[in-house]
């Protein structure tokens, strides 16, 4: 398995039909993807999942389950959410092709590290009927949208996985060198980002800058801003340090 594909995690959120889990696993394996995570699947394990997986039954058998998206992506350094085009809160939106190129670049950045340090990249697919919630979409660094027919844009779940996996496979097969952004330190993972956002929100409330009665999408905007910058672990320490300094400064004055 090419290293690029082995670092990718496909996450299916709250899937209704177990057959779709099996079909998605088959789509993954035909493109060389093996790591499947299921967030609160409605019926799993299930014989229909095994049946639809065909010879990708190993992908289904090795699937991990998690109760929430947050837990399924905690150790991932980049999280990509599949989304329909129009959303209340605009977010960086990539085509599958550009997404695959950016995944490749992100993984090349970490390619000089040992296998243990290579954090996974998650690609998150929502429910068959309703996709991902806004709260789930805001846990993603970027969104990817398959440029479907505006008159009928509803791809079957496994079909969407097939298209995304196909683009990732093509990106992994291309041998031409590309310009890479150089990063000295490992990227902060989703759990570290979540702790940072919680800390930031606490400080903004203490400063009376964030008023929960009139949040004005403030945290959404800040999540989007900091996700775009993809902080590394050293930068994350600095940001957390600044937040702590603001709090200590307040406490000092109050004494």
């Amino acid at each position: 398995v090419p290293i690029l594909l082995d670092q990718i995690r496909i996450v299916l959120v709250n899937t209704s039909h177990p057959g779709n889990i099996g079909s998605a696993a088959r789509a993954m394996k035909t493109m060389g993807l093996n790591h499947l995570y299921l967030v609160a699947p409605q019926q799993f394990p299930h014989p229909k999942a095994d049946e639809m997986a065909s010879h990708a039954i190993d992908v289904v058998a090795n699937a991990q389950t998690a109760p929430t998206l947050r837990e399924a992506i905690a150790d991932c350094t980049w999280v990509i959410g599949c989304s329909a085009r129009s959303r209340r809160v605009p977010w960086p939106l990539l085509t599958p092709r550009v997404m695959a190129e950016q995944v490749k670049q992100a993984l090349m950045i970490t390619s000089d590290r040992s296998a243990e340090e290579k954090a996974p990249i998650a690609i998150v697919f929502g429910r068959e009927q309703s996709g991902l919630t806004n709260e789930e979409l805001e846990q993603c660094h970027v969104h990817v949208c398959i440029p479907a027919n505006p008159a009928y844009s509803s791809l079957n779940l496994a079909a969407a996985v097939q298209v995304i996996a196909y683009e990732l496979r093509l990106a992994s097969l291309e041998t031409d060198t590309i310009e890479t952004e150089w990063r000295e330190h490992p990227l902060a993972n989703a759990a570290e980002m979540a702790l940072f956002f919680t800390h930031l929100q606490t400080v903004l409330i203490e400063l009376d800058f964030l008023k929960l009665t009139a949040p004005r999408k403030l945290m959404t905007r800040l999540r989007r801003l900091f996700f775009r910058s993809k902080p590394d672990t050293i930068e994350m320490n600095i940001l957390r340090g600044i937040l702590t300094a603001i709090q200590e400064n307040r406490n000092k004055k109050e004494q």
Copy 2:
């Protein structure tokens, strides 16, 4: 419907499972393809085909049937057969991406003709288990092969249609090679970024977080972090607002 997509005919040969016909129709319609031909389908019409088609039921309802491949492609000027890689008889073999580009070129050549003269291009998919026979493959001008995982290359029929239709759709969309990251507000300019960094440095000194005697590359790291995120003007207002809130909070305590 873009003209390119309207001239394409998807031909499914001797399909076993009617559900696959419906799923293929759905895959087609999501990518803007509408013309489905069925060569000797084993069960058609069939309620399972309608069910799996979902909102692409019109594609199924309008499907043409033919007893042989030869009849289904008689009026086509270019015929492309989906094939596994290794075949007894070597034949021109394209990737889906190159195939889509060549279809686009072929249709542009005929674009100055009247609509009646625009002959369709056929893309032919074989049986679920055994694909196309050699005799059928030899009726095709070229073959197209999806570059699947050599360890498991068997895409579901509708999944193969989805990938081919996706590439055709991208070829038909002039703008799709461009990244679609959409920003609602203009980006902060260099002068605004410079004011922000000055403000940030002032606050960090006031917080005693930045010690000018031991700056530890702190401002350099923060500049790099915020430059990467390319803040827009609204985000810049929020960041400046937070800095001001920190300062006002200090002043309040000191009074």
